[in-house]
Symmetry: C2
Subunit: 294 residues, 2 copies
Amino acid sequence: MRRLGKLLRKRSFRAVEGVLVVEGAELLAQAFEAGATIEAVYVAPEGGHDVGVRALVDRLVTAGVRAFDLAPGVLGKVAGTASPQPVLAVVGFAPVAIDELLAPVSRREAGGTVLVLVDVRDPGNAGTIIRVADASGARAVVWCDGTVDPTNPKAVRASAGSLFHLPVVSGGDAREAVSALGRSGYVTVGAVVRGGTDYASFDWVRPVALVVGNEANGLDQEVTAELDTTVSVPMAGRAESLNVSVAAGVLCFEAARQRREGGWRTAVGSGGSSSSTISGMEGRDARPAGREPG
Amino acid sequence: MRRLGKLLRKRSFRAVEGVLVVEGAELLAQAFEAGATIEAVYVAPEGGHDVGVRALVDRLVTAGVRAFDLAPGVLGKVAGTASPQPVLAVVGFAPVAIDELLAPVSRREAGGTVLVLVDVRDPGNAGTIIRVADASGARAVVWCDGTVDPTNPKAVRASAGSLFHLPVVSGGDAREAVSALGRSGYVTVGAVVRGGTDYASFDWVRPVALVVGNEANGLDQEVTAELDTTVSVPMAGRAESLNVSVAAGVLCFEAARQRREGGWRTAVGSGGSSSSTISGMEGRDARPAGREPG
């Protein structure tokens, strides 16, 4: 029990043990279905009375997981909340090393965007971004120094199981990670509030490493200096910026949209070859062999 | 002081008084710049020592706002948090009636999407969606019964000032609101996790009322029955759904993208006329006559 409390509260302890704590039956079922190693499951009395929780725990026990029934009130004390989830589990989790993303381009081209987080501080945002990455078909999420720990209980909750669905890569120093990705063939692109290429006229159908920064301050100078280019989401209203997880969502799903439609749209205009059978048709989808159109 | 505490905690009291509480200098400056009526500002001793806060309070006082200096510790007690913002203000806020959105189509066509919230329960999500609506150029946000109060302090914070930038409409009963919007010429579209039209092949360049539902359960049967159609964001990974504010962001910025490019893109594919000069070119941009190119 003391270990469980320490795992919930101490990042370094989770890192040393190579585990995180999953709270609640739904999240735990997702972790299990995603093939995560469930080390042990702890069930509060309320959980024992819940048909869904009992069925899940039975499945886990059948699969060889150790289950512990807890006395009333114990889980609340351990979790440090008044209304804890009726079931917690210690689940194996170890970030992947960045070298695994630096494989030859031929293999990489099949995959989606790599999302790089730099100084993202809010665990809710960080977890939501992992969920966005998963849902949009991103290849991996790279976690650089300064970003809140992905095993933070709030981040685990916000990721809604996606933490177990795609590689979460330990990126270390942000500048070095961006530089390494660039050297190995990714177009490195920073998301900036303004001044970047319109994200909708950017070609996402190639190996792209999308770098998102701090909620309040964006990307710092040192990281920006390593980037190939930047993109922005044009804003129409008087809002000064977007929430970082919403911005990641808008960018990653534009990438997914372009991939789904088999190309990226450029406004070729009057200069392009055109055989308009539809009135006013002007644009083209072009996919160049090389680099940067925007 | 007692009134301030009550305003922070009681929705009904805020509604009766027609105000909300804005916390922090940045948000307060945004409210002021957006033309909101600042009724009174309360400054903790830490605020009095902050150059930025003092400059803002001076501007407000010059504009005729009453300012009150508080004794140490008072604000923490009122706000009910250990580290409150050093400045709070009572700011006028009254939701607009839905009738104002039901004006003749000719006027409405100039504007963007109307976002309708049904049973959105998390104040952080609700505030973030207002921010999304503002930044994407939406026309208004309609707040239906069952959705968390927009004047909730966490929603106010998450909206990052956008609450003062676009009309927040009191929608009342969700079914009636959707039905009224439909009757008055809006295409009413529900965001659903799966089974809807691909949002990227949906025409957003027309009066659209986009209806988003509860975080866990989506839209209920009664509301769905009133809708013209539904849209979904295709998901590539194993994520089961998107966070509701991210989904709203993806949809609203697709609407903004289509409006910016002067039309809605159809994937004509192999059936369309094609003069591929660039390898891999597959898609087409159909842009109706008479509009602004991207």
